[in-house]
């Protein structure tokens, strides 16, 4: 049974998706989604244990040896992402039980869970595959399901955001396909390991350069690297809460992993970072993203939109670590992938609670939150401190790691940019604290009624019904993630060893 785990990682959520469609009850669909999430987490844990010592598991699909067949590859570089996906999926399952009921019309809930299962299928599929074209197929599965899920947001702008994401996301996917095609044209293979074997023979080939550039640009769109980030703020802020949590915590991270996989193990450090100035380009766009993301976040009037812009800055930070192409840089990037997922998961989950309690996520409606909902507000503040990078939060641990990696590589300018972006983070987190703690709340009942009116006026059937109580199933995940964001700051041994293992595989020239 254990030898089948790589395939099960993808197949279980897929079968559950089909099951959700067959079932007649919304509760049953939720149950199936929970089963899929839990099973994926357990599978991911089991796989992590198997590759803990640096082993690589190869699984031949259909019994055909690669490169004729498609193989799945599990190593330390992707179990991190698998674990993260599994944890976020379980959290989404717990959180979604109440939140989806309140945000999505009843008759759509079964299909909603089916789409969530498919999103998981796609994300897991991208992460485990060892075949370049197969990666494209699963990328499109995850993208298609996220377009549909984002479009279900309560306001009509969700539709526009989903459409814009669809267009730009498809262009990105097609760019990836072009890149894979160019690499295929000069090697004749799609298998990542086989590509890595054959590419050195055609080094310096202009088609290989083209392949690297197109794959990089295509994935950069999916990663929302500045200046290709335009789709992200709308998509993250308008999607239903659960979808926001999953996309913000792991959506872009999977694309970052895919890029690292292509850059380090398929094309190799020599081609991507030494022969081509891709590394420098990443450092430039990463720095710009840190400044622009954090800077624009300071001027947002909506909590979720603020968080989305902050994500653009944080993605910039992660890709900067990758762009350094050193073991410590990649390790810092992985560490920040983990920590940022935890922090942003907590914040978007808190935003979902606000939506249900206040009927809106505008900063204005958060006035006086500290006194009215101290626990939620406390979680927001703790996670916010992590975004700034205040010790002893997880954000500090990963920023420290990235700073050391930058110093090691003598990148002082980027270090200054990073510090500046942390200052900007202090500004936007400060605004939330200011509104929530120091500003007096307007009369609650009146404001709530007004917000609901606006939502109704938006002519969307998914009007949020305001609740007086926060369900434990929603508060629990927020608390758990907030606590984890502090815990990973104090005792970073688990995330660090995972990140170090990943960096070893990627930069050590290990087999893809």
């Amino acid at each position: 049974m254990t030898s089948q785990l790589p395939a099960l990682q993808v197949v279980v959520p897929l079968v559950c998706a089909a099951g959700c469609v067959l079932l007649r009850s919304a509760f049953g669909a939720w149950l199936l989604f929970s089963v899929a999430a839990t099973a994926s987490l357990l599978t991911a844990v089991a796989l992590t244990v198997q590759v803990w010592d640096g082993d690589v598991i190869r699984y031949e699909m259909g019994g055909w040896p690669a490169p004729a067949g498609i193989e799945l590859v599990i190593d330390q570089a992707n179990v991190v992402v698998l674990l993260l996906l599994g944890v976020i999926a379980v959290i989404a399952a717990a959180y979604g039980r109440r939140s989806i009921e309140l945000e999505v019309p009843l008759r759509r809930i079964r299909m909603f869970y089916a789409a969530m299962c498919l999103l998981l299928t796609g994300l897991f599929g991208i992460t485990v595959t060892g075949d370049a074209f197969n990666l494209f197929v699963f990328l499109e599965i995850s993208s298609l399901s996220s377009y549909a899920l984002i479009a279900l947001g309560r306001r009509r702008r969700a539709l526009l955001a989903a459409f814009q994401y669809l267009v730009i996301g498809t262009v990105g996917g097609t760019f990836l396909l072009i890149g894979v095609g160019l690499a295929f044209a000069v090697t004749g293979t799609l298998n990542m390991a086989d590509l890595a074997d054959r590419l050195p023979a055609v080094a310096g080939n202009r088609a290989v350069t083209g392949a690297v550039v197109f794959i990089f640009v295509g994935l950069a769109i999916k990663m929302a690297v500045f200046p290709l980030h335009a789709w992200l703020p709308g998509a993250y802020s308008e999607a239903p809460s659960v979808v926001s949590i999953v996309l913000a915590a792991v959506g872009t991270k999977v694309a970052i992993y895919a890029f690292a996989r292509f850059a380090f193990t398929v094309f190799g450090i020599d081609v991507v970072f030494t022969d081509l100035p891709i590394g420098e380009a990443i450092l430039v766009v990463g720095s710009l993203a840190m400044l622009a993301g954090a800077g624009v976040a300071c001027f947002q009037q909506d909590f979720k939109r603020l968080l989305a812009w902050s994500s653009i800055g944080q993605v910039g930070m992660i890709v900067t670590g990758i762009g350094l192409a050193t073991a410590s840089g990649v390790s810092a990037a992985y560490l920040h992938i983990i920590n940022h997922a935890v922090i942003k998961g907590a914040l978007f989950a808190a935003a979902g609670i606000l939506l249900i309690r206040l009927g809106s996520t505008s900063l204005e409606s958060m006035a006086g939150l500290g006194r009215r909902m101290p626990l939620t507000f406390g979680a927001v503040v703790i996670a916010g401190l992590g975004l700034i990078g205040v010790p002893p939060t997880a954000g500090f641990a990963s920023k420290w790691a990235l700073a050391s990696a930058l110093v090691e590589d003598d990148r002082w300018l980027i270090l200054i940019v990073m510090l500046a972006s942390s200052l900007l983070a202090m500004v936007y987190v400060g605004r939330i604290v200011e509104v929530g703690w120091f500003r007096a709340p307007a009369d609650l009942d009146e404001r709530t009624a007004e917000n609901v009116d606006q939502a109704t006026a938006a002519a969307n059937p998914g009007v949020v019904r305001v609740r007086e109580q926060t369900s434990v199933l929603m508060a629990g995940p927020v608390a758990l993630l907030a606590v984890a964001s502090v815990y990973f700051g104090i005792d970073a041994s688990l995330p660090s060893s995972l990140a170090d293992g990943a960096a070893r595989i990627l930069t050590g020239g290990g087999a893809p």
Binding site: F133, V171, F184
Partner: protein
């Protein structure tokens, strides 16, 4: 060079027309049509990689020795399906946008959202 590569260049020109249509047009349906052209051009690129001079379709028949490579064909079969799936979801979202905004022009819809924000 020209004799062996002109196919690629015309295909790239088609990609350019498609990409331009996607980005320059504000009409959502037109964007999807442009996206189709762009993707189909990429499909042609893949198929052209599989061709061999004097080859036959890769259906094994007695007496035929040279076949075109089946792998690009397989990939593009999958990619065509991905393309039509994207189109269908895009069309569904475009219809919903029309119902919510009364327009399928991106600029008008954005303007209506901005106006709504202004009145609040």
């Amino acid at each position: 060079m020209i004799a062996t590569h002109y196919t690629y260049w015309i295909i790239f020109a088609l990609m350019m027309i498609g990409l331009y249509a996607v980005m320059s047009h504000g009409n959502l349906v037109k964007k999807l049509i442009g996206l189709n052209i762009f993707q189909v051009a990429v499909f042609m690129f893949f198929i052209s990689l599989g061709r061999v001079d004097g080859g036959s379709p890769p259906i094994i028949t007695e007496g035929i020795e040279v076949y075109s490579h089946p792998l690009p064909h397989v990939l593009i079969l999958t990619a065509i399906v991905v393309g039509v799936a994207t189109t269908s979801v895009g069309v569904a979202i475009a219809i919903r946008i029309y119902e919510a905004y009364g327009t399928v022009e991106e600029d008008n819809a954005l303007a209506r959202d901005a106006a709504e924000e202004g009145t609040q």
